[in-house]
Amino acid sequence: MPIRNKIGEMVENVRLLERSCGQRKPSVGTLYLSATHTIFVENNPETRKETWVPHSMVSGVERLPPSPTGSQLILRCKDFRVILVLIPQERDCVDIHASLARLSRPEKYSELYCLSFNPNVNKEQREESWAFVDLAADYRRMGVPNNLWVTTAANSEYRVCDTYPSELFVPKSATPAVIVGSSRFRSRGRFPVLSYFHQDTLAAVCRCSQPLSGFSGRCQEDEMMLQAVMKSNPGSDYIYVVDTRPKLNAMANRAAGKGYENEDHYTNIKLQFIGIENIHVMRSSQQKIVDVGEMRSPSMTDFLFGLENSGWLKHIKAILDAGVFIARAVADEGISVLVHCSDGWDRTAQACSVASLLLDPYYRTIRGLMVLIERDWVSFGHKFSHRYAHLDGDPKEVSPVLDQFLECAWQLSEQFPCAFEFNERFLIAVHSHIYSCQYGTFLGNCEKERRDLRLREHSHSVWPQLWKERSQFTNPLYQTDLSPSQGVLRPNTSPYCFKLWKGLYNHTEKSMPPRQSPADFLSTVREESKQLEEELTNQQERLTALTGKPITWEKVAVPRRRRRTDCQKHGGPDPPATTHGRLISGPDGQTDRKAPRKDPALTLPLRDTDDFSACSDLESGVADLSSRSSSGGDDNKEAELE
């Protein structure tokens, strides 16, 4: 039977059920297939609810054998949504399945949504969107270049390392010859460069790939390079080399002419293995945790066993432990750290970015996290298009590396509820944009590839968009002025501190009326306080005008007033003058909160049902879902709210 291309066509009387959203009864409507999205519009004239699924978000389409009521498709999405579609005609179902299977696996970048999506903005606005995150400004913020760390032109036009950015910081004493020599001795030419400079201790976090040492190889320039890294920290006489791989893996690499630093050859280094597993282990571990999330009505035993069996939290803990080790070395011991794994673009990116998150409160702000991801991931050549399957390619290259970093941030925010400016929603939004290809930010595998694709001319950056929506991404409990969040975070990494990230792996709440959320309540409270404060100031001004004397009988100043916008000071498109010393905390206004105030009563409807409902059975197909046992006594009692 020839396959008809279904693009631009529609199918009527389709039933759709989004189980991962806790939906119970399928809705009936029309399914459209556009070049970029699957769109479902409900028939119900009152709601006409629309469901849009970008093709790039679809990770798999599965067709079940036809039943008398029709044929069923299961759409699995990269953000862990699962959508069931029941199509009356088998023929339609076969065609849609085939079309979707093709559309969700684009072969060329030009097929991607972001390169065909043209929001109504002009050229200036597009360029401005790309200037929103300015890495040079972030380096200036952390105090480089300075007399220890300088920029190098070695990699201009990506000559030395094609997966590195062209702008790099290296120790002042590293000559171009040392840089080039070192890069020849490192896997993929990824020589040691600066990731983060800690102004308080002058210690630095550096990154590279594994040395090509084999069993006995050595390289003078590379040894000099590490010596230079050490010398760039005047207070110390050694550095840590953190190999984030399990020691066994690192040793096995020696047989392939790679490996790790021999402590006999490199003087003044201390080698530390952390034991983060490779991308293949992580990929299968995440699949297991997703399966745990999809279990219908697991017992507590099933659930905890599944959690243990997946190994997921163990891996998250290993990554956090790596970050903690680095942060402790830099902040507490004042020792610089050189981090690598194999190629230095997965585990290294994880360990460095977690360390930055722990070391510098700036990266715990909304804008700071954008800068951090842009620096440690985008600019340093994390292979986004391979890892997140933007194009049809080798499935073995796919792995949830950045998912794990976002989860580390989430686990930390659970442990330090007042230390992060952003909330869980922000992390989930970033997660979904990494996969969605709606914007150009995460396309390609390195800076050079992005330049060659001329992405900045054809697509937009995601960051300004997220920044625009920041009011919904803000954690109302965030405090800039409390001591623990001020400086270095020292998390507890005991196993009992880790939980399954329900918000990401279990989307029950997404399409529901908002749950009982203390965060929303507090945001309202905060907003209300601000308005009252303004009103009070106004009143008092009027009163002064009226009585002609200053008011002495009431103190207006509110203690512990928190500032929420000071992160704008740096890293913006128009950064302030460079400083070499500490951050200047300039005066800032409490402006920038234009989100309309919600009526408290409106923000607090009781949440609707929860995953109790997930217990209802789906094995027998969509149609059976509407028939639910109603009264007491049976085993599948459901608890929900009317």
Binding site: P298, E308, Q516, D610
Partner: protein
């Protein structure tokens, strides 16, 4: 005082105290009949520890003789006094805190350990601290507790048509573990009650514990019927239950045992309501863990929380193996079932297990929190606890004699009340706005139930409390808690009339960190967040008030 015979050494100088979340301190240790007192030397009384000996669950001592380590002994003057030895006492408390005392002198150390061991588990209730507690700012007054069955009944006008208050148990003769006044169907007289009480274990005949105003349905609880191997019946019992569902087509019985367990109970004289005698009642069995198994579950969980291996697999497997979260899940889902029968299905329910003093109370309490907004305020919740646990005869004295660290053999101990608090915490976490009380209240209750200055959780029943004069000679905890409203109320509280249906999916249930990891630094961050929430809400209220005041001023001035 006879306590003095247990105290051979009352004071020790130069003791080092190590406790979680605080720097170690050196100072004087003092043992009294009810307390361990530690004051840091030269601190002007600033840093002190006053520990109720009753809250000590286990004492471990290790004594070492320092003569062996000659290099150690430069302080000869010191060793003369202590004969060169010292000891360490590890005190493990019922609130899961672990303290360590380094005491110079082996003999002193052993004496102190002995005193703590003996005085922490005195058997006689009248020797316990609540009978000695006399705060300066309070006076023992006539009214003890927040409510009485009589008061409860007279307030509930809607009950008066179908139900009545019976004083059949006024001398505790019909049922020793029930309070003197009980609410029963109006058409059942005291004579019938006396007869049918004999058909229920311990005389705990079915009584009303909750009336759902929305649809007039009731939750009734009791102990198991004494059906026995011969399948005995009791007409009066059937009459009473028939009266409960009068005007309705059926009722549900939620038995907190599996049907197999209920069958087996017949061999020991117990049993269940058979279909032939109670035709209009539909039985639902939900197996809930109780007794020793629950105590062991707690012990395993606490052990897992103390594991230092930093191994994720090990932790998850120990957590699973403890089964504590499974018990939380079962309790909440059984309570959900109960509430669903009443609220959704619109039928009355009888709840019982075997004795009717543990799991029945647990699920009836949770179901009331789910359905009834009046139970969710601070007063409402404490009143609910008083009615369903203290008055209804949960044997606190037996159940809470020891906690998770004790080396004593488990006898009657069982952390049913702690399981309740954990379940309530899960509700509180899932509905952060719907409950009027704070986590701090639940934590306070969790430690007070094991050791307290107040008399509320003393004894096993109302009868025992009356015999010992608890209500006259001790202070009431619930009243004290209400005086600390700022601390124990939930700043986010927004009353809702709707039922709060908890999710019992494993992903929605969490380990109660606030309690089980209370003494780890990590929990501090969470407490800080709670303080911040309180601060924000209060700040907003303060500003609103200022705005109102300021707005009022000009008119005052001009008038």
């Amino acid at each position: 005082m006879e306590f003095s015979e247990h105290i051979r050494t009352a004071n020790v100088e130069d003791v080092e105290l190590r406790q979680p979340l605080q720097p170690a301190g050196r100072g004087t240790l003092c043992i009294t009949g009810h307390h361990l007192l530690f004051s840091v030397r030269g601190d002007g009384g600033g840093r002190q520890l006053l520990l109720l000996l009753r809250s000590v669950d286990a004492v471990e001592k290790s004594v070492e003789n320092l003569w062996g380590h000659s290099g150690f002994l430069s302080k000869t003057a010191h060793t003369d006094r202590t004969s060169g030895s010292s000891g360490t006492i590890t005190i493990k408390c019922k609130d899961l805190r672990v303290l360590q005392l380094d005491i110079p002198g082996m003999e002193q150390c052993l004496n102190i350990a002995h005193s703590i061991e003996t005085l922490s588990c005195l058997d006689r209730v009248s020797d316990m601290f609540p009978f000695f507690y006399r705060p300066v700012d309070l006076r023992l007054q006539g009214c003890w507790g927040l409510s009485s069955p009589e008061g409860h009944f007279s307030q509930a006008q809607e009950l008066h048509q179908k139900w009545r208050l019976s004083s059949v148990n006024k001398d505790y003769l019909v049922c020793p573990s029930y309070p003197p006044a009980l609410i029963v169907p109006a058409c059942i007289d005291d004579k019938t009650l006396r007869k049918l009480a004999k058909f229920r274990q311990g005389g705990r005949f079915p009584v009303l514990c909750y009336y759902h105003r929305k649809n007039g349905m009731a939750i009734v609880r009791s102990s198991q019927p004494l059906m026995g191997a011969n399948r005995k019946c009791c007409t009066e019992d059937e009459q009473l239950l028939e009266a409960v569902i009068e005007g309705s087509d059926k009722g549900y019985i939620i038995d907190t045992r599996s049907s197999q367990q209920a069958q087996q109970a017949r061999m020991t004289g117990g049993g269940f309501e058979s279909k032939s005698c109670y035709g209009r009642w539909k039985r639902l069995h939900r197996q809930m863990e109780r007794g020793k198994a629950l105590q062991e579950s707690l012990i395993k969980l606490v052990e897992a929380c103390g594991d230092e291996s930093h191994n994720m697999d090990r932790w998850l497997s120990k957590l699973e193996n403890s089964k504590w979260l499974s018990h939380v899940q079962t309790a909440l889902s059984t309570a959900g079932l109960l509430a669903e029968c009443v609220e959704r299905d619109g039928h009355s329910v009888l709840v019982h297990g075997s004795e009717g003093t543990d799991c029945s109370l647990l699920i009836s309490t949770l179901a009331q929190l789910i359905m009834d907004p009046r139970c969710r305020t601070l007063e409402g919740f404490l009143t609910l606890l008083e009615r369903e646990w203290v008055q209804a005869g949960h044997p606190f004295q037996q159940r809470c004699a020891h906690s998770a660290y004790s080396h004593a053999r488990v006898q009657q101990e069982s952390p049913v009340f702690l399981l309740l608090l954990d379940c309530v915490w899960q509700l509180w976490r899932q509905f952060p706005l719907a409950l009027g009380f704070s986590e701090a209240l639940l934590l306070r209750l969790a430690s007070e139930v094991y050791a307290s200055d107040y008399g509320t959780f003393l004894c096993n029943s109302d009868q025992e409390r009356c015999l010992l004069g608890v209500k006259e000679k001790t202070y009431c905890l619930f009243q004290a808690l209400l005086r600390d409203r700022d601390l124990y109320s939930n700043p986010l509280y927004e009353p809702t009339e709707l039922a709060i249906w908890p999710s019992v999916h494993p992903q929605s249930l969490q380990l109660w960190r606030g309690f089980f990891l209370r003494w780890t630094p990590q929990v501090r961050q969470l407490e800080e967040a709670q303080e911040e929430i309180r601060h924000m809400v209060m700040e907003c209220a303060r500003l609103a008030l200022s705005v109102r005041d300021t707005a009022a001023r000009p008119s005052e001035n001009s008038s």
